[in-house]
Symmetry: C2
Subunit: 359 residues, 2 copies
């Protein structure tokens, strides 16, 4: 109680800690990350480089606790870091973090070997990231809102049923069923396809131009219906593809089964996951710890995020979701490397043709 009364601003110098306090905090964070046990003063005294006695460490620890970097689970236990403590660690203490040689090899061999469409790549990337870190991983694919339409085709499936297929410049394929109010033969479909193709090519799927009639009733109807279907598909596709890898690893990360339950159920809501990552990135962060992101069920989780950028434009993200006591340097390194490699990979598929597109 007594300690709570003091405002933490008393002994802070703008959020920075002196070297020894920082070293102590670092020892506590790394110790707690490693053992999941509260860290005591004697352990800190022996683990940190500074040669001081446990008693001195203790007096520093009360200061760190007063300033909100540490808490004691109960009197006479060691300290564990608060979210603020982790934050300081991530911002000022964590060494840049490199992948181990084995992990680096795993990443590079993955990206040289992976094949298949965009979806497959994203999906297996999420598994890769989860394998690398032993935490759950999230990969959000690029939104197709901005990609211009490259080709449109209306395929007949039944006399009164068709499928509109649009290929976007980023290689994505959108498709949607259409129901015709009358029988449509192949000639009409071909004509409609040609007309649509001419009109719509180059526009983005979220802002399609209206298709001018060519005064052939059947064809015009088909074109109208197909355009409507495409618009519809475009609306749906602004919800980006989300892939979650290794959620089962979260089961081992927490001991309270209710926590696991809550976190998993968040991960099932793809929209929430997307906006979580987006929020974090928009705030210019690469890590969000505990309460920093606004999702209460994830209060005991930390998220490490890295953007996926194609042609300098952000178009997706990779993320790692683990307990707040996660291995931040490793996770940040993994997210950064995988995010970059994935950017290159997607860029290789799209980048060049974008230049041609407008050339």
């Amino acid at each position: 109680m007594r300690t709570e009364d003091h405002d933490s601003s008393l002994s802070r110098s703008g959020g920075d800690l002196d070297a020894r306090k920082a070293a102590i905090l670092e020892a506590i964070v790394t110790g707690y990350i490693g053992t999941a046990q509260p860290v005591g003063s004697s352990h800190v005294a022996s683990a940190t480089g500074i040669q001081v006695s446990p008693a001195t460490v203790r007096s520093e620890m009360v200061a760190l606790e007063r300033d909100g970097y540490l808490i004691q689970p109960h009197t006479s236990a060691g300290r564990i870091p608060t979210d603020k403590g982790y934050r300081f660690f991530v911002d000022h203490l964590a060494s840049p973090g490199r992948l181990g040689p084995q992990q680096a090899k795993q990443v590079s061999s993955f990206f040289t070997q992976v094949q298949g469409g965009l979806e497959e790549v994203l999906e297996s990337t999420s598994s890769l990231l989860s394998d690398l870190t032993s935490y759950a991983a999230v990969v959000v694919g690029p939104s197709h809102e901005q990609a211009p339409v490259r080709s449109v085709q209306v395929v007949g499936l039944a006399p009164r049923r068709g499928l509109v297929v649009a290929v976007l410049a980023d290689g994505a394929v959108e498709n949607r069923h259409v129901e015709f109010p009358f029988d449509v033969d192949d000639d009409v479909l071909a004509q409609a396809t040609a007309h649509l193709q001419a009109t719509v090519s180059g526009a983005t799927i979220s802002a399609l131009p209206t298709v001018p009639p060519i005064n052939v009733p059947a064809t015009d109807d088909v074109c109208r219906l197909a355009a409507e279907a495409l618009t519809e598909a475009g609306k749906l596709s602004d919800h980006e593809a989300v892939f979650v890898g290794g959620p089962s690893r979260l089961a081992s990360a927490f001991d309270a089964i209710e926590t696991v339950r809550g976190v998993l159920s968040i991960l099932e809501q793809q929209l929430v996951v997307v906006s979580l990552l987006r929020d974090v990135l928009e705030r210019g962060l690469s890590v969000a710890i505990g309460s920093e992101h606004g999702y209460e069920p994830l209060a005991s989780c930390a998220v490490v995020v890295a953007p996926v950028e194609v042609n300098g434009r952000q178009s997706g993200a990779v993320g790692i979701l683990g307990p707040t006591r996660m291995n931040y340097p490793e996770a940040m390194a993994a997210a950064e490397v995988v995010g970059r490699q994935l950017s290159e990979r997607i860029g290789a598929e799209q980048g060049n043709q974008e230049l041609n597109e407008h050339g």
Copy 2:
């Protein structure tokens, strides 16, 4: 020990139990499903319709235990059903099981409202099934191996890069990137598209005919590459689409966190899930309990499966995965209804055009 020595065939009449034993077993199964607590003789005596004393129930219970329907977690606890006990319950005791009016309404309103492509429908169906039952749900989509190709198109994305898009008669769209060793212009693409279309239409994607050359070098090369890519895509697509709904619900179903972990990690392996459902269906079962399916990590799970059939041909499945002490009647009813509705839904999209296809 003593009881183990007897072969259970001693007092069985072909696996059937007399009416009273059956009633007792039923009371124990339903009791255990409801409370997760071992069920004692007095509870059975009061819960079952038969008017007998707990002592009589007890003597019946030792017989049931000797025959392998029940076990005692420890001396002087109540009994809980074995897998065999659940099996008998499912086969002979469970009343057919109807959905509650509210659930039935939920299902029908879902199927009238759901829209979007096949994938979206399957995905949200898995959520529906999970919501209905409070267990995890699995939906396996139809394989496209048998669907004939309806349309093929080669779209250029970059001078040396293209996308082969094939529309199958069941409305599925397969696509794959192709890399050309030389620049390809639109005329070549159009010619290749036309030639491919003529050759490949009507064949199944898993057994494409070879494309005869037309003696235009560039076009032939493009055709060959595109056909290869399609074959590749066909190989990949025999792994059907799998959607898992509500895995987080499993966290509440078991108390051992290790069990949760194991089950979740099985659910992440889509291939395993598919073959699990397939195995169960192939053995003509709708329920697999505990050790009946061969997957040890799922030993404490039961699976309820219902087929998805289009035109009388099985083309997918829905499943419910819960603890062995799950509510079988409800789960079976839910799986059955959802499976049937999903069949109709998919059939409505495909059935008619199949007739036209070969007509």
